[in-house]
Amino acid sequence: MSRIGVFVCHCGENISRTVDVERVAKEAGDIPGVAFSCDYKYMCSDPGQNLLKKAVADNNLDGVLVAACSPRMHEKTFRKAASAAGLNPYLCEMGNIREHCSWVHEDREEATAKASDIVKLMVERVKKGKSLAPITVPVTKKALVIGGGIAGIQAALDIADAGHQVVMVEREPSIGGHMAQLSETFPTLDCSQCIMTPKMVDVANHPNITLYTFAEIEKVEGYIGNFQVTVRKKARSVDESKCTGCGVCMTKCPKKKIPNEFDQGHGMRTAIYVPFPQAVPNTPVIDRQNCTMFQSGKCGVCQKVCGPGAVDFEQQDTLIVEPVGAIVVATGFKLYSIERQPEDSPIQGYGEFGYGTIPDIIDGMTFERLASASGPTGGKILRPSDGKEPKQVVFIQCVGSRAREKGISYCSKVCCMYTAKHTMLYHHKVHDGQAYVFYMDARTPGKGYDEFWRRAVEEEEAVYIRGMVSRMYQRGDKIVVMGSDTLVGVQVEIEADLVVMATAVQAQDGADLLAQKLGISYDKYNFYSEAHAKLKPVECATAGIYLAGACQGPKDIPDTVSQASAAAAKVMTLFAKDQLERDPVVAKVNEKYCVGCLACKKVCPYGAVEEREIRDRQGNLVKVVASVNPGVCGGCGTCQATCPSKSVELDGYTDEQIMAMIEAL
């Protein structure tokens, strides 16, 4: 007969408000095999844990069930306590009577009955539990950082400075991300390039960092401490080892009128190009879609002029396999577009703003480029249509953000602040110009943020109009902006020379595909999910993978950098040990029953199942069986549900345990 202890938590009042915890504890005491049961105000507190330890010792318990919050919250806590009391940690389980019961049901009678049922099921599970020994695996002390924006750069530098190897993979030809495009940054108005480019150079020169640009993640295998990552280095058409970065090729390339993505399409570049002069690495790439050589086989000018002979039209994509122990995902964001979206898209464009067809309606990032000294206008505010200096500029906040009808209900967090910044930059450059801002709310939490916003309103004379813009259209060379001022309660119409929209921050293109390769979760907007909103804001639920920057949700630079350093600290904590203990929830084959059909091998997503030959003493083959490599097994249990002879079993989720729970239904 088992000797199980059941501990029912009140969670202050979070559970006891709807669940009669005393009754649950009492009923638990009547379950055969339960030797001890009680209820307590806070099981996770120090006295609560001591209560558990004491009960284990006093009653000689051989299993423990804590009925409290979700195991995702405190399973570790209680397993540690059980372990301290001399019990195998895997003989301690949790019954979720908070998230799955007291918080979701109002009726006390029903909630109490359900809580008792949960205890009953889980006690059966504990009874059939087995002691498991932790599995130790080596840790590869090398980190992968995906994305080379400020988030990735900060994380990579921190980890590399701590003495560990870092591999950085950036999709574009240069690192830098969005911050490299900004002109000046709130709340201090320092020049973005001046604080960004030195860090980019540090990455390139760091002895511990290997940088792959124009590269993407092809495949991720393995698990915490032992990932195998395949990187696809796209063909650059320029040999990086030979190129000296002189740039002759770009001056001679005859295709000169290609809109430059870095300038949001407002400057021009050649077919062989670096995205911007301070690019890291300063090695050009050929845009094959726009290159005459690739399209019609004629030209090859760059190859002829290149001194060191670096241009290579034959170059192919290469695949590189990197073993790493931890992964930091820092893939950032993209900006919402008001253009007409495909019919089936959950996100919609703005027909009322002309679906992006009016040239002098631009987005915030384009304004950053216009205001930047290195931008297409050399830092002069000139409007795209005719290059004139606009005297009336309307800024619109929350375009696509907090707009449920357009498919996005969240706040993009940075727009209030950067719009205030834009009005200042505009006022500094066009002294006789007037800025108007349509806004829903001015959200300025952050150190020095409200002061910054007030400065825009009070000293820089931006006119803030609380209300929404309902329509915009072109009239002559003006844009008519029709909106409402909800504070005064009147309709307003402004004839603007230029309109700047603070469009929503959205998850990066392909964020979902990358998540699927990594096996991490994401929300309905494709932003990556952290393991816990408050207590694990940089970890993914998938062990060994961490998040930094705007890929997790809209963020400004200070928050991005903090999170990146936090992610780096987590990686360093992982790398502080040579061996890692991992959950022993792995599959084992019963060789006696295994018929060697290898159905398990076919379904195992980790390739953990190998064939093993069993031979007699003379060396004659007796049979072939499946064998699971515990270091590689992820613990999904697919093999067990597939095995026709029931010869493979997942520890911690055995058929016996599950059937016992079902019997107790």
Binding site: N96, E99, G519, P605, A641, T642, L665
Partner: protein, 167 residues
Amino acid sequence: MHAEKLQHDFEPKIVAFVCTWCTYAGADLAGTSRMQYPANVRVLKFPCTGRIDPVFILRAFQKGADGVLVSGCHPGDCHYMAGNFHARRRFAAFRALLGFVGVDLERLQFSWVSAAEGGKWVEVVTELTEKVRAMGPMKEFKALEDEEQWSGALNTPELREAFESIT
């Protein structure tokens, strides 16, 4: 504050088989968001839907479940990459079989609920509970369970007859 509670003649027993990574976490989120749903459901946690053996579903029906929900990560989002893909194939065949032996397939629901979809969990559970409540108790399998209690004896006239009828 408490809504007037409706009294029903029949309260179905709903069993949910869910994976830890998506649906269990989604149900946790429904809790942290203090959403409300019927208390009929009992949740059994699995590492992945790939671990769920159809036998468990049969046994749950035999043991008195009136409705069964199987829920995991969305296609492509499985924490183990492909567990839910194998589960889906397995359950497609199993469902057909279950229909063939006369179980009303309305009682067995498959769905995808991600860790971020607390609201969807509430919807799925509420819908299934209401549907099954309207259908009434599931009798077929429980009757079988009562009838087919095998004594363990091998050489009985019934068994011999059954054996001869198939050879």
